[in-house]
């Protein structure tokens, strides 16, 4: 993982400049461009969101930032993740589309798995587990097994696990997309509460404009094939926000319009 620890980064936690990612086509062996000169940055304590259609390469970008996919510098661009501490590697928390819990471990041991892997002192485990389970609304579930929990609750454990390491950057990849709409809605409200209490730095991917507008401080809009960022906007509405707030609602409508005009133009171009 690119981990530049220079101190001249100010408040920036994630800094992506002109990042390009190519994949070889498994059939032809020819390379095609998945991510085309992506630039974005996430400031400390801010909630940035990338919105784009499914399959546009958003997850690839997140995986590169998380270090589970590689970025070939010769393809172009740079990627830096800065740590708060000058000695430690930046801590990355990741909430995936599905919870990805270790079902054979209790809720508590799932969180400890992350804490231990991050080299966080054993003295802090108890406190961290209790604090963040409470924050996601799962107090008292320490000794329970994941398969006893509903899909929404499992995802809450995944969020608690990610928060527990107190990450420099929390990556979230459509974390509510596998949940039913009522559960997802409740989770969005609860996530906003968490933002106000713990103030984490988040890079959040979604295909749901309403979700992005409701949650994010700034939004990067991404087109597909190859993925390009065609617009960046700020959402200047203080929290707590309400989805029926006219400002939120109007912004969402405006962005939807804009999205379709870009996608339509792209379709025309593709013939």
């Amino acid at each position: 993982m690119p981990t530049d620890k220079n101190n001249g980064h100010g408040n920036t936690v994630v800094d992506v400049k002109n990042l390009t990612k190519k994949f070889p086509d498994p059939m032809t062996g020819e390379e095609f461009v998945v991510l085309d000169a992506i630039s974005l940055s996430v400031e400390k304590g801010k909630f940035a969101s990338i919105v784009g259609p499914s399959g546009c390469g958003k997850s690839t970008l997140l995986n590169i930032i998380a270090g589970i996919e590689t970025h070939d510098p010769s393809d172009g661009g740079t990627l830096d993740v800065y740590s708060d501490s000058e000695v430690a590697e930046p801590r990355v928390g990741y909430v995936f589309q599905n919870a990805r819990l270790l079902n054979w471990l209790t809720v508590e041991d799932n969180m400890i798995f992350a804490l231990e892997s991050q080299g966080i002192s054993k003295d802090l485990w108890r406190e961290r587990v209790d604090k963040y389970l409470e924050m996601v609304g799962l107090e008292g579930q320490q000794k329970n097994y994941p398969l006893n929990l509903s899909g929404g609750m499992q995802q809450r454990v995944a969020i608690a696990r990610a928060l527990a390491i107190e990450p420099d950057i929390l990556l979230m990849d459509e974390p509510f997309s596998h949940l039913d709409e009522i559960t997802a809605r409740k989770m969005r409200f609860d996530l906003m509460e968490i933002l106000m209490r713990a103030n984490p730095t988040i890079l959040f991917i979604t295909h749901d404009l309403g979700e992005a507008v409701f949650l994010a401080d700034n939004i990067y809009m991404m087109s597909t094939k190859p993925a390009r960022i065609f617009k960046q906007i700020e959402v200047d509405v203080p929290r707590p926000r309400k989805p029926e707030d006219p400002k939120i609602f109007d912004l969402e409508k405006e962005l939807v319009r804009e999205f379709f005009s870009v996608l339509d133009a792209q379709e025309l171009e593709d013939g």
Binding site: N63, G67, I68, E89, L102, N103, F113, Q118, N144
Partner: protein
């Protein structure tokens, strides 16, 4: 959990066993017991043999060898199986060797072990290991193909070290394969140990079998053979089932 429901196949099964026992008993009436003993006669003999304390040390000796062989071939087989699953070059190096070992006649290993290790404890153990570990490795290797990459990615993001990746992410996913490998390993290894004892170390239950074979006492061979078989079935049912249930308790916890 339903644990004691009578399966529909149970009644015909019991009937079949009873009918076989009756046929066996009737057939035995036409022969002398040392050639074909009936079940009633055998029960008497079994009681006689097991009232002699010396019999237990014979059985204990054999059980120890089975246990040691089993543990060693599970350790070796599982390690090789996992390595084959996660290291491509090790896989291509090993898979032809596994095929060779699987097709090599078991009886040759038994004799070779005696020739190489003489009458030491290592002969039956080595025979067990060489015959059984390829089965274990095959099973585990198969299991590694079903490993979820998603969980490995998750553990990688949180920077899990190799040891806890193995212990907390990989092995728990392989447990069903490890158990089925262990079942195969147990059922193979106790038979191999008996053969090894008969031809090699000359002690344990295997030695009893060959001794009574040389005395042409079918009744005593069956006494030792059948009672040991029953012991193995009980071990498999009790130890393995309970262990398995305990290991997979996380699956069965139905709350709410």
């Amino acid at each position: 959990m339903k644990s004691l429901n009578l399966k529909p196949g149970l009644v015909p099964g019991v009937v079949t066993i009873l009918v076989s026992l009756i046929i066996w008993q009737v057939a035995s009436l036409f022969f002398i017991p040392v050639f074909l003993p009936g079940p009633v006669y055998l029960i008497d003999l079994i009681v006689e043999v097991y009232s002699d304390p010396a019999s237990y040390s014979v059985i204990w000796q054999t059980l120890t060898r089975i246990f040691n062989g089993l543990v060693l071939c599970m350790l070796i087989g599982t390690s090789i199986g996992i390595l084959m699953g996660i290291r491509k070059n090790f896989e291509s190096f090993m898979d032809s060797w596994i095929m060779v070992l699987l097709t090599f006649p078991a009886i040759c290993w038994a004799f070779l072990s005696v020739l190489w290790f003489g009458l030491s404890e290592w002969a039956p153990m080595l025979t067990v290991i060489l015959i059984v570990f390829p089965f274990v490795s095959m099973n585990i290797w198969e299991g590694t193909k079903a490993l979820e990459k998603e969980l490995v990615d998750m553990a990688t993001v949180y920077r899990s070290d190799k040891w806890s990746m193995l212990r907390k992410v990989l092995i728990p996913q392989l447990m069903p394969y490890i158990f089925s490998a262990m079942r195969i390993a147990l059922s193979l290894s106790w038979k191999i140990v008996l053969v090894g004892e008969a031809f090699g170390v000359s002690s344990g239950v295997g030695q009893k079998l060959i001794y009574w074979f040389e005395e042409t006492r079918v009744d005593m061979m069956l006494t030792w053979g059948l009672s040991f078989m029953v012991l193995m079935v009980v071990i498999e049912l009790l130890v393995f089932r309970l262990w398995e249930r305990h290991t997979f308790a996380w699956r069965h916890q139905i709350a709410n």
